[in-house]
């Protein structure tokens, strides 16, 4: 490749980089923070589950999830098996129309909600 070709290629690369920068920045802004991989406490601890049930009533029921995880416009959570990390991720990042709670709840509180929802797994309706 001659010098001219190199210069053209470099210019094209530069232009492409400039063109892509705003989008790349925009995407970077939307990148979620790293997921905590393990809960900071035992998710089956009754006190944690109880704290999670309080949070669930205050934050999740009414217009969205049904009381005690029953069916509502949002899916039923009772009697269903969920992957622990999936639950944390869904609460933290949401999925429209479910809001993302990562800026409203700290990770510990999200884990408490996970503990409560996991506790509903064996509930029979």
């Amino acid at each position: 490749m001659g010098n001219r070709s190199v210069r053209v290629a470099a210019l094209a690369l530069l232009l492409a980089t400039i063109a892509m920068t705003p989008r790349a920045v925009g995407q970077a802004m939307r990148q979620p923070p790293p997921l905590p991989t393990t809960p900071p406490f035992d998710l089956s601890d009754p006190s944690i589950v109880d704290a999670g049930s309080h949070l669930f009533r205050q934050t999740c029921t009414g217009y969205c999830h049904g009381a005690e995880g029953r069916l509502s416009r949002a899916p039923a959570l009772r009697g269903r098996e969920f992957d622990t990390r999936f639950l944390f991720q869904r609460i933290a990042y949401g999925a429209p129309p479910m809001p993302a709670f990562q800026t409203l709840l700290n990770p510990e509180d999200i884990w408490k909600l996970v503990a409560y929802i996991k506790s509903l797994q064996s509930v029979k309706e």
Binding site: Y63, G94, P99, T103, L105
Partner: protein
Amino acid sequence: MGSKRAWWWGAVSTLLVLLLLDVTPVRAQGAGLSRLLNVDPNDWPMYHRTYDTHRFSPLGQINKTNVKDLGVAWVHQPGAVVQGLESTPIVVDGVLYYSGSYNRVFALDGATGREIWHYFAKLDPVVNTLFFQPYNRGLAVGHGKVFFGTLDGRVMALDMKTGKEAWSTTVLDTKKCSCNFTGAPLVVKDKLIIGQTSGELPIQGKIYALNAANGEKAWEFNTIKNDPKSWGGDSGKFGGGGGWMTGSYDPALNLVYWGTANPAPDYDWGDARPGDNLYTSSVLALDPDNGQLKWYHQEIPHDDWDYDAGLGESLVLDRDGKKLLVHQNKSGFVFVYDRTNGKIQNVWPMNHVYNWVQRIDAKTGELIGRNPPRLGKPHFICPWIAGGRSWNSGSYNPKTGLWYNTAMEVCEEVTVEKQTPVTEPAAGLFFGGDQVAKHPPGGEAYGHLDARDPVTGERKWSVNFKYPPIGSVLSTGGGLVVHGDVEGVVRAYDADSGEELWHFRTGSGHRGGPISYAVNGKQYIAVPSGLGSLVLGLYPALWPEVADFPSGGALFVFSLK
């Protein structure tokens, strides 16, 4: 005086009068302000069509006789509809403007549906963390611009002709308050008035006026009164309120009437917010020029039920020489005021089933026999938190003298729970309990569309629905009432008898506002279809099948075949 000179003076004085009255040629100005005061029969230039919020179109080309021949003229799909298509379109000079979820704004040829322009707001990702999102309920036009509030706390203006951004003002710190704008603004003279969401948030909700020309803030009204007698302790800091829907305006009295939302927390465990909690769950009469409070009436003092007064229309109508204002809150009771001073003229129940009070004094508005949920065992309350009616509006036909309005006969079981307000790093929901929908005692929950005298409440006809309707109502000069249900069927009724004259299945339920307009002498009826909204989230507890009702969203426009 010579004839030439007289002609010159005549021309100058005429021009001055025209300037003062703001009756410059309308097409040159787009939606000129005179067009908002004296609405062209062909237009629908604001959220409720007219300042009196009647939602009545005088057009009569489509009438009781020929409505059976109504067919689809065109359909527009806004895309990205989440939580329902909740808006009411606007039409000026044959151009239809409307909004979908995520503040997507469209200008369409009203006769063909051809897109003239669209504007998709670039929203801050904080929107994904909010409770009140991503729906938008409508736009305003005036001063050659299209105005709307955004999900991330801004108020914006677009050029009506091009859709190009004219100005954008950040009004709310949405990242901090978790509050935003979802309702349509109201243009009053040189100002744009809009209220914020905040009823379920530990913040202080306000109503704002911006300069329509450049977006500069003109005034704000705090719906949380700074008064320790009204808000014990520091409860006022977290008092909620706000005014999230669109008010009405009386040009003769120069008063804007605006309903305010419920206090936060929604439920009181005993000492959550001691006092009457002014000015929440109230009707305010504000001077649009400076935001000064001229009168108010608190419909639900110390609201214990989330019976938000911020919703729907505030009917301005005159009867027997009296200047009246008819306003409803979520309790299902309708308050009739002398709109010059706020004195109660009557109070009547739109709902058949209620137990939150024994009654309301029709002369004073006093709540008699309150039945508040309190800490402890679950409490059975009627109507439910969605209200005797939600934020959707009825329609008043001045020819029949009837108000066509919907109601929900649904109860709930409320469990009150003490809660600490969260304001850092952002405001968290502040309900103070939760609730689950219940059937009324001895029967199934249901809804109805009624034709009523708006002043006395006398009922002329009624149509029942299995699933309580949550769409707004249109009435027309052709003697029609148009309304869509939750199952996705829009119907036209005989305004005098309630007889169904026409229906069409749009494929998804109705949450928005139908309108009527005309282009080149042809009348159209536009119906937003697209099921969703927070309220719909309450339905599956009683009707599990509603969870599977199709959402989606499209604007259907009908005309005579």
